[in-house]
């Protein structure tokens, strides 16, 4: 048996076995859950070679499975994140209901994502895509609350995307007579003008929905925040990257080879930039950590989409690097929110505060992830951001640079809100009992956060597989031109040498930290956050000094004109319009037998009328 078959069978069998093992024994179920993700991951990375394919034929469809060098980058995200989060999930789900179905969907969606990367033909691609959508949909409605509002929204958008994609696949088949992706790529430049526009747009709708591109993003904030946090790490970190994966295939292998491609890519790049700006502004306005991170994910994917759409070597490097980085830091942050929610029962900044002394390790992981998210050196986020700016400047997209920069500066606001809201500020009696999350939840967070740190000093570790993947889809080799193991360069030859920077920053930080820490640790005593001076008075114990309501009100007032327009409203208007049409339809299809009888009689009368007039 081929290794790829075995891997997919383990995923599928593991999902079913784990589900039923829950009826026997909880520990057996947890062990099976971890194994059915860990074992295929190990098998995949040890036994599956890129660029070796197997053919198979089911029900008359020729299929081709195998991983390209390009897909391999994304398999790193899917399986790497999947394995680490699976450990977290075991601890996260302890003592909850419906654990079996959670595990089932978790394994299934990891398997489906790997399947998408493995499939080299559109039939299996679409099937795995649908499995992924369905399993994630079941996760979105897992809690059972707001199924109507959030679940349906996610489902409708996913369905629209899937049908658009299906239509593109059918059109492709009618033209090329084949379902293989390589065949479409080979034929595409010779197609007619209409097809040049139609096929990419249909595909991009499908992929744009999953990667939450404006204006197709409206499902994301609700869906991300309604899902159990253990899965949201994967949802935002890996599943949305499937959209990016598809988008790269379309943008680079199809659109680059047609004359109109330039304009096409400009439009998508602008959409990406708008996604980044508006996503960030909305993230700043949120009071719930889950919503905040969800909007932030939308914004971060905006950067990635812009990078993909610009499509120069440096831009692609940055987009793919940011994809991996986003999986690392957003995975960490969603896990941190999950840990806080598990320990305190809420994820709302206005309710919980001052956890730093109770959950120090969660704070440490969040701090590192936030620094990476903000793109501050020396952590990994900076490398991706730097390459994105330089690529935009080098390719003459000056306004886009400003927009992206605005968005990433405004991101500091929600970064601070996240850290301050949960960990800093007044310590309240209400949360005095809170303990650090179990080790099984903390360790995966720390591992992912440490990943951002290593990539900040040695981005070459991950840029070399990215480079191999980019060469597989037709780029020149970039090592030496744009990056070394710990150097990044732009087109003009300006460089950032990361290693001495990291050393210098750490030397300075350690020196002053020890300067402040050394004596004061022993000779000073800790005082509570009530022991402060507020205008010369010492506040009393019962006085509430927590600051969390309307946190960024002045800023939001300043940007208020931009945020007044919500894309959601337009969709709702559209939905109401559709409802009116359906309402009219319901007046005709009343479901009443007598009405239908009248219709039949009217129809017969009309027929008779016609018969008499025309044929009589």
């Amino acid at each position: 048996m081929e290794m790829i078959h075995l891997i997919l069978i383990i995923f599928l069998g593991g999902a079913v076995l784990t589900y039923f093992a829950g009826k026997v024994n909880d520990i057996l179920r947890d062990a099976l859950f971890i194994l059915s993700i860990l074992v295929p991951a190990i098998l995949f990375f040890t036994n599956v070679n890129p660029e070796s394919y197997i053919d198979l034929s089911i029900a008359g469809f020729n299929m081709k499975w195998g991983i390209t060098h390009f897909g391999w980058i994304f398999s790193l995200i899917v399986l790497g994140l999947g394995v680490i989060v699976s450990f977290y999930a075991v601890s996260f789900m302890k003592g909850r209901d419906k654990v079996g179905s959670f595990y089932f969907n978790f394994i299934l969606s990891i398997g489906a994502m790997l399947g998408i990367l493995l499939s080299q033909d559109f039939v299996s691609f679409f099937i795995f895509w649908e499995i992924m959508t369905w399993s994630s949909y079941l996760m979105v409605v897992y809690n059972g609350n707001q199924v109507q509002k959030i679940g349906i929204k996610y489902f409708v958008f996913s369905a629209v995307g899937a049908y658009a994609m299906l239509m593109a696949i059918v059109i492709t088949h009618s033209i090329t007579g084949s379902f293989l992706i390589t065949d479409l790529i080979a034929v595409f430049p010779q197609l007619s003008n209409q097809m040049h526009i139609l096929i990419p747009i249909l595909f991009l709708i499908g992929f744009g929905v999953k990667s939450a591109m404006m204006p197709l993003h409206v499902w994301a904030p609700g869906a991300y925040s309604n899902t159990p946090m253990a899965y949201t790490s994967v949802f935002s970190g890996a599943l949305s990257k499937m959209g990016v994966y598809g988008m790269v295939l379309i943008m680079i292998t199809l659109i680059s080879h047609i004359p109109e491609g330039h304009w096409f890519r400009e439009v998508i790049a602008w959409m990406g930039a708008f996604t980044a700006v508006l996503g960030t502004l909305w993230a700043v306005a949120q009071d719930d950590a889950k919503k905040l991170l969800a909007y932030s994910s939308v914004a971060q994917l905006g950067y990635i989409i812009t990078g993909v759409a610009i499509g120069t070597e440096l831009a692609m490097l940055s987009a793919l690097f940011l994809s991996i980085l986003h999986a690392l830091f957003k995975g960490t942050l969603f896990m941190a929110v999950g840990a806080i929610e598990k320990q305190t029962g809420t994820s709302n900044f206005t309710e919980v505060s001052g956890l730093i002394r109770k959950m120090p390790w969660t704070f440490l992981a969040s701090l590192m992830a936030i620094i990476a998210l903000a793109g501050i050196p020396p952590l990994g986020g900076f490398v991706g951001k730097w390459m994105l700016y330089e690529s935009l400047i080098n390719s003459n997209h000056y306004i886009l640079v400003i927009m992206i920069f605005f968005s990433s500066t405004a991101a500091f606001l929600y970064c601070y809100k996240f850290l301050f809201g949960f960990f800093l500020g007044q310590e309240e009696k209400e949360w005095a009992h809170v303990k650090e999350a179990p080790a099984l939840m903390v360790v995966p967070m720390i591992i992912l956060a440490a990943g951002t740190f290593i990539l900040g000093a040695y981005p070459g570790l991950i840029l070399s597989p990215i480079d191999a993947g980019m060469q597989a889809i037709g780029f020149e080799a970039t090592q030496g031109h744009y990056w070394e193991m710990s150097v990044i360069l732009n087109q003009w030859g300006d460089q950032v040498v990361l290693q001495p920077i990291v050393y210098a920053i750490f030397a300075i930080f350690l020196f002053f930290f020890l300067f402040l820490f050394f004596k004061s640790r022993k000779n000073t005593r800790y005082v509570t956050t009530k022991d402060i001076s507020s205008s010369g008075e010492v506040p009393l114990e019962h006085e509430n000094l927590t600051f969390s309501q309307n946190f960024f009100q002045p800023f939001l007032r300043a940007v208020e004109p931009v945020m007044r327009r919500q894309i959601d409203k337009y969709y709702n208007e559209f939905g109401r319009g559709l409802e009116a049409i359906f309402d009219f339809g319901r007046r005709i299809y009343t479901g009443n037998g007598q009405t239908y009888a009248i219709y039949v009689i009217i129809f017969v009368i009309i027929l008779l009328f016609f018969k008499n007039n025309l044929f009589g």
């Binding site: 730093i356 002394r357 120090p360 903000a374 501050i376 050196p377 900076f382 730097w386 400047i393 003459n396 000056y398 306004i399 640079v401 400003i402 920069f405 605005f406 500066t409 500091f412 606001l413 601070y416 850290l419 301050f420 800093l424 500020g425 007044q426 732009n490 003009w492 300006d494 950032v496 040498v497 001495p500 920077i501 210098a504 920053i505 300075i508 930080f509 002053f512 300067f515 402040l516 820490f517 004596k519 004061s520 000779n523 005593r525 800790y526 005082v527 956050t529 402060i532 001076s533 507020s534 205008s535 000094l545 927590t546 600051f547 946190f551 960024f552 002045p554 800023f555 007032r557 300043a558």
Partner: protein, 303 residues
């Protein structure tokens, strides 16, 4: 490759220079402010006395580990960015890390400090600190935009993103960038008003309103670290403006004259202005400064 000890020596000399110059400028600004308001004012060296007093004080209490990390983060930004900025032209001063990073890197390093200090201020639990921080971050989003536009204009005009590259371009052509890209200079100077946090943009510290904001609850060594970090950072920003727009400096005297000339702009403007509200401050930067930023980019694209 120079020996590592020489590098460290160069760094220490640069830091001491920045510290002394920054502190002196702050003292001068206190003196000038006093004279404008018809007071005698403290002596110019008053800030050194303050620093000496602060460092010799014993600290009795602390609010936790993040409070200690906050000022250290701020120092990382001040000293870190100092290492990447050439003090004098043509490598006449210690080169430190001048060739290892470019402008985009510097932009990001320079925003790290306020964020780190904000975290330190957050742990003290003083609501005034947090309010000051939210104002500061909002204002930062405001002035960063024209500032970045000015820098992007320079980058595309001279096809380089490195500071050393821009300085070489000036000495090669013989004209300062303030003349060859005037709009960028205007946008950058308007952004600088927010960067230095004098009136009308002193909404972060906001004396009498927020009780000095983020630095409340910090005394002794903490306040010393913040204060010296602040003065080093002031030197960094002034030197960066001189390097980018005024053709750098050939010797230390020239550097002092040019930096002080730049320093007078936000200070004197502040003396005659009342304080803005936060949203007014943010919107101010998205008015004329943004317009000049656009002009600068268009100018750079056309020429």
């Amino acid at each position: 490759m120079e020996p590592i000890l020489y590098k460290v020596f160069g760094a220490v000399v640069t830091i001491i220079l920045a510290f002394v110059v920054g502190m002196t400028y702050m003292g001068l600004s206190r003196k000038i402010t006093a004279r404008v308001q018809n007071r005698v004012g403290p002596p110019v060296y008053q800030n050194f006395l303050d620093a000496l007093k602060l460092i010799s004080k014993k600290t009795a209490i602390h609010h936790g580990i993040m409070q200690m990390m906050g000022p250290a983060f701020f120092m990382v930004t001040s000293i870190g960015s100092l290492m990447f900025i050439p003090v004098l032209n043509d490598g006449r001063f210690f080169s430190n890390l001048n060739f290892e990073g470019d402008l985009v890197f510097l932009l990001y390093l320079m925003v790290f400090g306020p964020l780190g200090m904000a975290l330190g201020a957050g742990q003290t639990g003083n609501p005034n600190s947090a309010i000051g921080v939210t104002r500061g971050l909002s204002q930062m989003v405001g002035f960063e935009i024209p500032w970045v536009m000015a820098l992007v204009a320079l980058m595309i005009q001279y096809d380089t993103t490195s500071i050393v590259g821009l300085m070489e371009a000036q000495s090669a052509s013989g004209t300062w960038l303030v003349f060859s890209s005037p709009f960028a200079f205007i946008a950058a100077v308007l952004a600088m008003l927010g960067m230095f946090r004098y009136s009308p943009f002193d909404i972060v510290g906001a004396p009498t309103e927020l009780a000095s904001g983020p630095v409340a609850e910090n005394g002794g060594k903490y306040l010393f670290t913040m204060m010296s970090s602040n003065s080093i950072f002031a030197f960094v920003k002034l030197t960066l403006y001189v390097d980018l727009f005024l053709g750098g400096a050939d010797n230390l005297i020239e550097l002092l004259i040019k930096t002080f000339a730049i320093y007078l702009i936000p200070m004197l403007y502040g003396l005659v202005s009342p304080r803005y509200r936060t949203e007014q401050a943010v919107r101010y930067f998205w008015g004329w400064p943004l317009f000049f930023g656009f002009l600068a980019i268009m100018y750079a694209v056309v020429f």
